[in-house]
């Protein structure tokens, strides 16, 4: 009787170890699959963000600079940075902001570069606030864009006073600052919508991606 019991216990132990091994192998394979998906996902997001950046920089410095709708060139990169920050969160927003500022100031003939801190903060805060406090809705996007464009006014004024001699405040507001503010707000939905559409596929539930 004792011998039979011992035999039974031994066989059960063997079976359970085999099961554990199998389970471990399955878990490892699943983990590898998820890691591969995440790596590919990050690379694809980077490419999409770079393409968005280049597309809107070219749009701003060629077509919008040519037509000057509403009397000014709208700042498309600021709403785009906010859109990327809100979709991809703060870290992406901050890095994208610095890149966006550098590209747009390189393509335009900017002699004074000031936009990097503004874009970096806009992207970073939009991402952090979306993650921690407010949900990503059209209303929050509009609020962040309005706030960022308002801060942009001070950056434009600073640049104007740094580059133009004998500048009158009234002229600066009438000819550059207010038209730019209005044009940026009016055209802000374009980068928001395009960035949302372009980055939306990367925000599917994980199960859907694994399948």
């Amino acid at each position: 009787m004792k011998k039979r019991d011992r035999m039974l216990m031994k066989s059960e132990t063997v079976i359970s170890e085999k099961e554990i091994d199998l389970h471990r192998t399955e878990t490892r394979s699943l983990r590898q699959r998820i890691k591969a998906i995440i790596d590919a996902d990050i690379a694809a997001r980077l490419v999409v963000c770079a393409l968005l950046l280049i597309f809107f920089a070219l749009l701003q410095t060629t077509i919008f600079a040519r037509f000057r709708i509403l009397g000014a060139i709208p700042d498309l990169m600021l709403p785009l940075t906010i859109a990327v920050g809100m979709t991809e969160r703060g870290r992406w927003g901050a890095i994208f902001g610095i890149a966006a500022a550098f590209v747009i100031e390189s393509l335009g003939a900017a002699t004074v570069s000031v936009l990097a801190p503004l874009y970096m903060l806009a992207g970073y805060l939009a991402g952090c606030l979306t993650e921690e406090l407010f949900r990503d809705t059209p209303a929050t996007r509009a609020a962040y864009t309005l706030a960022a464009c308002f801060v942009h006014i001070f950056f434009t004024l600073f640049t104007l006073y740094a580059t133009v001699e004998e500048l009158r405040f009234g002229d600066a507001m009438r000819l550059a600052v207010l038209p730019e503010f209005l044009a940026s707000l009016v055209f802000a939905p374009i980068p928001h919508v395009i960035a949302w559409l372009a980055l939306k596929p990367f925000h599917k539930p994980r199960e859907e991606k694994v399948q």
Binding site: L58, F67, S106, T159, T163, V164
Partner: protein, 286 residues
Amino acid sequence: MKQFFQSKFFYIVTVIALLFCIVPTVLASMGATFVLRDAVNGLLTPFQKFFNYAADAMDGFAGYFTRFDALVEENNQLREEVAELKTQIYDSTEREEMYAWMADFLEMKRVHTDYKMLAASVTGRESGNYSKALTIDVGSSAGVEINMPVVTSEGIVGRVTEVGHNWAKVTTIVEPNSSVGAYVERTNDLGVCRGDFSLAADGLIRLNYLPGDSEAAVGDRILSSGYGSVYPRGLVIGYIDSVEINPYTRSMTVQVKCAADYSDLSRVMVITDYDITVVSAADLEG
């Protein structure tokens, strides 16, 4: 909220952002080009060209709606001409424009034999609302250098202020703070044309330092005087748009309409070399 600004990541990106402000600004003030900036421009200039073609096409399409009446009239005239002359149009509009531009180019070469010129296309414009600058598709590889004058057959556009391998930035003469030595062709009065922020949007500049007894009048042509080291003498700057005389101080306020139309520039010429002629005030009066 406070924790957003206390992370290590935030400090690092803030430092990077500040570097991206300081380094390009300092290098630009020294007249040097930031390597990364050169790379971005070099990479994206061909794409800018493509976007400019798209802008040209959109401009033509928009013009169909905004100038509809004028186009209908023009269309009728053209139909009549076609009926009367029974000729066919062989060349596309773009080709005709190119011929016209080439003819202007050759005419300019004929008049100013000492000029060595380089044709360039405008690929980009300013990105903000505080400057009037252009990007052209030729750079140091074609021999372009800083301070070379840029012109069209109509007149002066500006001067090269930044040069990359296959691109260059041109600061126009309507840009605030830019100045060109000038004289009134009819009266030979010397002055200095300066860009003015409040006038730039209308393509106007100020002509300062004219003598109090100058007889300059609206419509007079303003040419470059050759003073300074950038623009050769005799290039057209523009035409006097308005003259105001202060009845108490007798000082003149003259506004000049630039000859080159900055809103519609697509091709320009860079003067890479010219004979410097020393001009004195006595020569001008003589």
